[in-house]
């Protein structure tokens, strides 16, 4: 792993008369409410690393300290205790001019309410960081136009920010941060002030830009869905403390405590979990070198009417149905090749659940999941897909399936009032579908 872009170690931020004393008490184990009389503990013992090129989301409700954390990352707030390093350089306890030059050259920021300068044109706003750096007028004008083009605002440079809609203003905010040409971007609730449709659009645009630019982004939000969508990793904050840091899947499937679990209850799991998160061991799988009899045996053992056929390195080749296998076996054929059918639906393992429903419905077998090289890595029965949408950590474990229905003949007998011999129904059998 490369060196972290930002490293935060045991950082505290206390607002109040004697912040150091409050930190001592917090270190000794006092809670945030216990020290409330002496000062406001906004951030308590925060530690995390942000890796280069990732989107690191800090998520929490208002008052959880997330905005204070992001403001400490560029020194707008100084940390009461602890150290923060940006690209190996400490920004805690350094002088004002050193801080300014770090902000100018290394960290740009996007604000919740855009914070554009209303008396300057859009292009001048975008060029502002360059102006502060002393770039010549023509050069910064050209750069501003280029960046505006990038965020889809080409030709708007001469307008005043007030002439733009909220979404467009925030694009100017993003363009300004990009114009600063820093490796690190801080985004403080950047999309929270926008209405939902625009927000969605901006989120997608940000991901698109990130594909191209590969910046290190620290993104603050109170919206879990946004965090899950954007974040490569997420830090969940509560009452000034970081309660969990992990990938969206980690947080969803393995919440560190009740708080996180409650939090993730509302998340749109279909957009976060991937096929790999919920898939099961592929069961009716037959090697292509095996004969139809082996296939039949496999299908009988797993109570299915078809099986996937894989090559020697588990490459998914096709499927075989029980009827075809029976025919082959009867005619004495030893190779399955003549009756192999193409796999109707298969999905990649990094596909999100949202995109699995239609293939799952169309697939007669549990949906096949493959890796990048086409190897069969798992299957997703429809029940599993449904269960994964429910809350709780159990969602991705194996699920007992419904017993197969009693055969029609048996029901008819019962309805006719006849006696049913015990154990004649196959109700103890299970189906996997």
């Amino acid at each position: 792993m490369t060196a972290p872009a930002i490293r935060v170690e045991h950082v505290y931020k206390v607002f109040g008369r004697h912040p150091e004393r409050v930190v001592e008490r917090l270190r000794a184990g006092a809670t945030r409410t216990e020290v409330a009389d002496a000062g406001t503990a906004a951030v308590i013992d925060a530690s995390f690393d942000v890796h280069p090129g990732e989107i690191f989301v800090i998520m929490g409700l208002s008052g959880s300290g997330k905005s204070t954390v992001i403001r400490m990352l560029n020194g707008l707030h100084d940390a009461t205790a602890g150290t923060i390093t940006v690209q190996g350089e400490p920004i805690t306890g350094v002088g004002a001019s050193r801080l300014r030059s770090i902000r100018r050259d290394r960290i740009a920021m996007v604000f919740q309410h855009f914070a554009l300068l209303p008396h300057r044109t859009v292009a001048d706003n975008v060029a502002y960081p360059l102006e502060l750096r002393g770039v010549a007028k023509d050069a910064r004008r050209a750069k501003a136009e280029e960046i505006l083009e990038l965020v889809g605002l080409g030709g708007w440079g001469d307008k005043l920010p007030s002439a733009l809609s909220g979404g467009m203003q925030q694009r100017v905010g993003i363009a300004r941060a990009l114009a600063a040409d820093t490796d690190i971007l801080l985004m403080d609730e950047a999309f929270s002030a926008l209405d939902p449709l625009i927000r969605r659009e901006m989120q997608e645009q940000l991901l698109e830009l990130q594909q191209k630019l590969r910046k290190t982004i620290v993104f603050i939000t109170h919206d879990l869905n946004e965090a899950m969508l954007l974040g490569d990793r997420i830090a969940v904050m509560r009452d000034g403390r970081i309660v969990q840091v992990g990938t969206p899947e980690d947080i969803l499937t393995d919440p560190a405590n009740d708080y996180v679990e409650q939090f993730v209850q509302d998340v749109d799991r279909a957009r976060v979990l991937t096929a790999a998160n919920v898939m099961e061991r592929p069961r009716p799988v037959v090697s292509e070198t095996a004969g139809p009899r082996t296939a039949l045996r496999q299908m009988r053992d797993s109570y299915t009417s078809a099986a996937y056929v894989v090559g020697r390195d588990r490459t998914l080749i096709g499927m075989i149905t029980d009827r075809d296998a029976v025919k082959l076996a009867r005619s004495g054929e030893v190779s399955m090749a003549p009756v192999l059918r193409p796999v109707p639906q298969s999905v990649r393992q990094d596909e999100i659940l949202m995109n699995l429903f239609v293939p799952a419905v169309e697939s007669p077998l549990p949906l096949a999941v493959t890796d990048d090289d086409g190897h069969l890595v798992g299957v997703i029965p429809r029940v599993t897909l449904l269960a994964a949408l429910g809350p709780g950590p159990g969602a991705t474990e194996e699920i007992p399936v419904q017993p197969q229905p009693i055969p029609v003949s048996v029901i008819d007998e019962v309805l006719a009032g006849g006696e049913t011999p015990p154990g004649s129904g196959p109700s103890d059998r299970e189906a996997v579908l």
């Binding site: 920021m109 604000f111 914070a115 960081p129 502060l132 750096r133 001469d158 300004r176």
Partner: protein
């Protein structure tokens, strides 16, 4: 209790006397400078032929506000001339403008300082309250002690009296600038001076101009009082009319003060909010410039094409000459 009295007034008087004796040179300098400025401005204004002067005032009105303003200015200023109060009016205007200039030059830096420093603010606040609520007449007494009679004590008393709203509104304007916008400046590594010039002052400008407007209004009200200490102008006429109970002069001089007050108020108010006056000359010029800027590339292109076409024409015309 009987017979016991804190001689506060006497102490202040002693202090004033001490200041007069020890800072004499300083007061002399102030006297010379202020008298030079006010008299110079008055002479300058009076040197302009009256119709031209009225035209200039009207044009200023049009430039910042509207042609209606210009028309109103021309009419009311002609009324001043018709009342034979032009010279007195110009003297008062000079006194007000110079006093305002000095007051603003002190008030805005003080306002900026107190916006950035809570201690300064805590100290300034009661001082400003004192300056603004102490009856204006009281300033005249030490002013006479320091500067003798005439226009100078008038200006000094006016400055002291008119200063507070300038400081207050400058501070209010700067503190009222959206915190996130200032934070943005900080986040991109702007120096405090760059934030002040590039963000805080421009965004606080409407409020600061409202402060300047208030300074002018207070200065004008005080300028009349300055007539008591012998400053020439409309104030002197008002004081005379009061002492001799001649209503006619008092009404006329009072009316002239009102006209100047309204004029200065409208002009300074419009300066603070240029966007609200699209029909002003400045507004029209700004729109023209903006239109020209957007049209420029297109125009340049067509011009290029035209010259190209002309050259083609010329060469085709020259061709027959060559062959012939």
């Amino acid at each position: 209790m009987d017979g016991f009295r804190i001689p506060l007034g006497t102490w202040v008087e002693d202090a004033v006397a001490w200041l007069r004796d020890n800072l004499d040179a300083l007061f002399d300098v102030i006297t010379v400078v202020v008298r030079f400025l006010v008299n110079g401005l008055t002479d300058g204004l009076l040197a302009i032929p009256i119709p031209l002067a009225i035209l200039l005032f009207a044009l200023i009105g049009w430039a910042v506000r509207s042609w209606q303003m210009a028309l109103g200015t021309a009419l009311t200023f002609t009324l001043i001339v018709a009342m034979d109060l032009w010279e007195a009016s110009m003297q008062t205007l000079s006194l007000v403008l110079i006093a305002t200039l000095v007051a603003v030059a002190i008030a805005i830096p003080l306002g900026i300082w107190s916006a950035r420093n809570d201690t300064v603010r805590a100290i300034l606040k009661p001082v400003l309250d004192f300056m603004q609520t102490m009856p204006g007449f009281v300033y005249l007494i030490p002013a006479i002690t320091f500067f003798s009679i005439g226009v100078v004590p008038g200006v000094v008393a006016t400055v002291i009296f008119a200063l507070p709203p300038g400081v207050r509104l400058t501070e209010l304007g700067i503190r009222g600038v959206d915190a996130e916008t200032v934070e943005a400046g900080n986040a991109f590594g702007a120096k405090p001076g760059q934030i002040l010039r590039g963000i805080q002052l421009p965004l606080a400008m409407p409020t600061i101009m409202a402060g300047v407007n208030q300074v002018i209004m207070l200065a004008l009200s005080m300028a009349v009082l300055a007539g008591i200490v012998g400053a020439d102008g409309l104030g002197k006429l008002v004081v005379q009319s009061v002492s001799t109970a001649r209503l006619a002069i008092g009404v006329e001089a009072g009316l002239a003060v009102v006209i100047i007050a309204v004029y200065l108020d409208r002009v300074t108010a419009a300066l603070g909010t240029p966007a609200d006056h699209p029909s002003s000359l400045i507004g029209i010029a700004a729109r023209r410039r903006a239109a020209a800027r957007t049209a420029q590339p297109a125009a340049a292109q067509t011009r290029g094409n035209q010259t190209q076409a002309k050259e083609n024409d010329a060469s085709s015309m020259r061709q027959p000459v060559k062959t012939g």
